[in-house]
């Protein structure tokens, strides 16, 4: 038995405990409570400098500690499909130029990761017959609102429209005297003659009527590569797709805010159409009246497409004009809410910008100020990195304005 000695011990430890502690070099005590009235530390002379050195090590920094940033770049298994709208002479159409959208390899404007291959585009709305419009919009178009050809021309010439969306609302069977498919096709032809930008043609939302009209329109505009708006799950998808394919157009696949339906619709269309001829619209709800649902569905769709879901890899389109359904956009409100001539266009602008950040590639819009803002923003978001001069924004806090 090795000799055990208790030295300097006021602690009387039981022998069994002492036995356990034999040969132990270090003892760690947990959850120790010490209650004292007074505690006196006695240092050996050499210990104090060591303690002082330890305290100095925790001293505050005197110069900046470097910590470089690594760009958080991610790689995705897939990319978004590229779709061409409008066909030039060499491709069988008569458009001045074509527009290409889609092709993204990253989420919207993650230019630290990948450049934006094709900037989003904006199309101006034109209705083929008189519809109620907010005052803020009407005042920009005045005389042309009852003549779709003049309206289209005005949009291109005065506002620089890159595309026109012709809404054939006159064909709606609920109208007292709905237009016939032949009449609708004639309007489309007239517009194609009047402007040379790529064209989107919209029906009235009634599945049977729209199909009958699309039959005539796709043939009349064969080769022009129109965007046919819209094909839905409750239409004869095979027939619609074959018309679109035969005459060289693009289908706008519309689903009511439901990703599973969006997938199902794309799945069906892909049986009859190449993917380069499909764009999808998952529904746009106005700011304040469902925009968050629209935004999240689009953001999820875009991310899923990049992550490899083959049924969500189409470029996206938005009926941004729906923003005007919000009462705050068009109503006269109490004076503190300002002029509706500003409030409304900003309402449409914010709706558009939010969805653009989710990845929308084609916007159908109405107000020229909203369109201009969107186009300017697109320019900035797709510009080369490093355009921002820090010196210009370093002193906003002391600036007088």
């Amino acid at each position: 038995m090795p000799k055990r000695e208790e030295k300097n011990s006021d602690l009387k430890l039981p022998p069994e405990l002492l036995d356990l502690l034999t040969g132990v070099d270090e003892l760690e005590l947990e959850d120790v409570d010490i209650t004292v009235d007074e505690l006196e530390f006695v240092y050996q002379p050499g210990v104090l400098p060591a303690i002082q050195r330890m305290v100095a090590a925790r001293a505050k920094p005197t110069s900046l500690l470097s910590s470089p940033f690594t760009l958080p770049v991610q790689k995705y298994p897939s990319q978004i499909v590229e779709v061409t709208l409008g066909a030039t002479k060499s491709k069988g159409g008569s458009r001045g130029k074509s527009i290409v959208i889609g092709g993204e390899k990253s989420p919207a404007f993650y230019t630290f990761e990948n450049p934006t291959p094709n900037p989003p585009v904006v199309s101006f709305d034109v209705f083929d017959s008189k519809v109620p419009l907010p005052k803020a919009v009407k005042m920009n178009f005045n005389d042309v609102l009852e003549d779709p050809v003049a309206w289209a021309k005005f949009s291109v010439e005065k506002f620089g429209a890159d595309m026109i969306t012709l809404h054939l609302v006159s064909i709606d069977p609920l109208n007292p005297k709905p237009s016939t498919p032949a009449e609708a096709a004639k309007t489309v032809e007239d517009i194609l003659q009047a402007v040379d930008v790529p064209l989107i043609v919209g029906g009235c939302g009634d599945p049977k009527t729209d199909l009958a009209v699309f039959e005539k329109v796709t043939a009349a505009a064969a080769g022009e590569r129109l965007l046919i708006s819209t094909v839905t799950l409750d239409m004869d998808i095979e027939k619609s797709a074959k018309l679109i394919k035969e005459h060289g157009h693009v289908a706008l696949a519309f689903s009511p805010m439901d990703l599973n339906q969006a997938r199902e619709l794309n799945r069906h269309l892909l049986e009859f159409l190449p993917k380069e001829q499909i764009i999808m619209d998952t529904t746009t709800a106005a700011l304040g009246y469902g925009l968050d649902y629209a935004f999240t569905i689009m953001e999820r769709a875009r991310l899923a497409g990049l992550m490899g879901d083959p049924e969500l890899q189409q470029p996206m389109s938005s009926g941004t004009t729906n923003a005007w359904a919000a009462r705050e956009a068009w109503q006269k409100m109490d004076p503190q809410w300002g002029a509706r001539e500003l409030r409304g266009p900003l309402w449409e602008t914010v709706t558009a910008l939010t969805l653009m950040l989710a990845g929308v590639d084609v916007f159908m819009m109405m107000h020229p100020a909203a369109v201009t803002t969107l186009k300017n923003t697109i320019k900035e978001l797709t510009a080369k990195r490093g355009r921002g001069d820090p010196a210009k924004i370093a002193n906003w806090m002391s600036a007088k304005f």
Binding site: L291, D292, L346, K400
Partner: protein, 464 residues
């Protein structure tokens, strides 16, 4: 967000099922904790000495990727940050973007207090929520610490809203702090030139501190690292807001920082983001309207792309309304259902002659229509038809709102026992199915306005 399961939490709980938290057992409590419906502070045994280690471990596990920072004190305090995820659909966002309106120390008392009042009183009732502004940002254009101090004092005397002190001159910031030593304002900002003095002030007055590095995330991280070593823990990040040339850089920076914090475990960037769309006012513009437009437009993009605080100048209602509505939308919990319970609702005390209106069970539609009916003060019935949570136009177009579902709803609600007449007022956008509804239900259909804001006039003119 680290994927946490209830089991991860449960393992660290007392597991005694004592029910002191109000739940039946510890597993139920653990599930609520994981869904962020309840804080672990609600478990009294967990707060005792015995479970101190577990408590600390749980706090660490539940720590948000973006730190939650408090500005101000008491009732008026505002929390910013506290984000768990980058994309709202991954869970939900917490702590809606705080909006601060600026004042300067060279404004007249009238202008100063006018702006403070406007900021405080801004309010809009939107679908049951009051939209408001959160803070006042006080800037020094005078460069005079005494003037700044006097302005800060005056602002603090006139509002409980938390304050942001804006200057890169530590002497001026100190002047401001001397006026409100206990108010815990956000100090804007520490830069590569003044970080030491700013850190000292932050520590002395126990304030959160913004670190600013325009368009330079390397420098931003360096500043954060240095501040943490210095002992300043409550930080806010300003990567610089460009409102014209460089806007792309700003959007990139906000995106990169949020991704680094949430998905790449970068602790140095795990702090709330501060945007300054007010910069739009320093650029030449043809009119103040143009500046306000640009500021609002950029602000809205930053709300969508991760900003936790915004400093703005405009108090124009037309500019702030779209912005505050957007913020409410983005910060709505996406997990909450889109639909309300179908069935019969009453307004006032309707009798056998009161009008019967119909709408869908889409939450947004329902709340809007309900608000419009309430505004009439009239007694009425509202039949909420199950359209699987779709609005009127998409419901009719998508065949979710049909004559059949309306006729069924009429039967199930037993409205025929409550009113003598058989007249149903339907939304204007459902006109398409009015004939079919009449055939199936044997009720007469009155096609109402296309927008529910027309209900008051409709009832006045058409309901006798």
């Amino acid at each position: 967000m680290k994927e946490l399961s209830p089991i991860d939490i449960y393992m660290l709980l007392p597991k005694t099922n004592c029910k002191e938290c109000g739940e039946d057992n510890c597993m139920a409590f653990a599930t609520k904790v994981v869904n962020r419906e309840v804080s672990i502070d609600q478990c009294p045994p967990l707060l005792t000495k015995q479970y101190e280690k577990n408590y600390r471990q749980l706090k660490e596990m539940l720590k948000p990727a973006v730190k939650e920072v408090t500005v101000g004190v008491g009732d008026g305090a505002v929390n910013v940050g506290g984000k768990l995820v980058m994309y709202r659909h991954e869970f939900t966002y917490f702590n809606p973007t705080a909006i601060a309106i600026d004042v300067t120390d060279e404004m007249s008392d009238e202008e100063l207090l006018g702006r403070v009042k406007k900021t405080q009183e801004f309010t809009y009732l939107y679908i049951g929520n009051y939209l408001k502004l959160q803070m006042v940002a006080i800037r020094s254009t005078s460069n005079d610490p005494e003037k700044f101090k006097a302005t800060v004092k005056k602002v603090a005397e006139n509002t409980k809203l938390p304050i942001i002190l804006c200057s890169v001159d530590p002497v001026i910031i100190e002047g401001g702090l001397m006026a409100i030593p206990k108010a815990r304002p956000l100090l804007y900002a520490a830069t590569k030139d003044n970080w030491k003095e700013m850190a000292e002030l932050a520590l002395m007055y126990k304030c959160p501190l913004a670190v600013s590095a325009p368009n330079d995330i390397d420098l931003l991280r360096s500043l954060v690292k240095t501040m943490k070593e210095y002992g300043v823990e409550d930080l806010v990040l300003d990567p610089g807001t460009f409102t014209s040339a460089g806007l792309g850089d700003t959007i990139n920076n906000f995106t990169m920082i949020r991704r680094a914090a949430c998905n790449m475990g970068d602790d140095l960037l795990g702090y709330p983001l501060l945007g300054t769309p007010i910069v739009a006012w320093t650029e030449p513009a043809s009119s103040p309207t143009v500046s306000a437009w640009k500021e609002a437009q950029v602000a809205s993009m930053l709300v969508t792309r991760y900003a936790d605080i915004l400093i703005m100048h405009s108090t124009e209602g037309w500019a702030l309304l779209p912005l505050t509505v957007l913020r409410q939308n983005i910060y709505t919990d996406p997990r909450k259902p889109v639909a309300v319970e179908p069935g019969l609702r009453t307004f006032g005390t309707p009798d056998e002659n009161s009008p019967v209106l119909m709408t869908t069970n889409f939450a947004l539609t329902y709340y809007t229509v309900a608000q419009d009916i309430e505004s009439t003060g009239a007694a009425a019935y509202l039949l909420v038809v199950d359209s699987e949570g779709t609005a009127v136009d998409s419901g009719v177009a998508g065949r979710k709102m049909t004559a059949e579902t309306v006729a069924d709803a009429i039967k199930e609600s037993k409205i025929e026992e409550k009113v003598k007449h058989r007249k149903l007022i339907i939304p204007g956008k459902a006109a398409r199915i009015s004939g079919e509804i009449e055939e199936l239900s044997n009720w007469e259909v009155l096609v109402g306005p296309r927008d529910s804001s027309g209900i008051p006039k409709f009832l006045q003119d058409k309901w006798k």
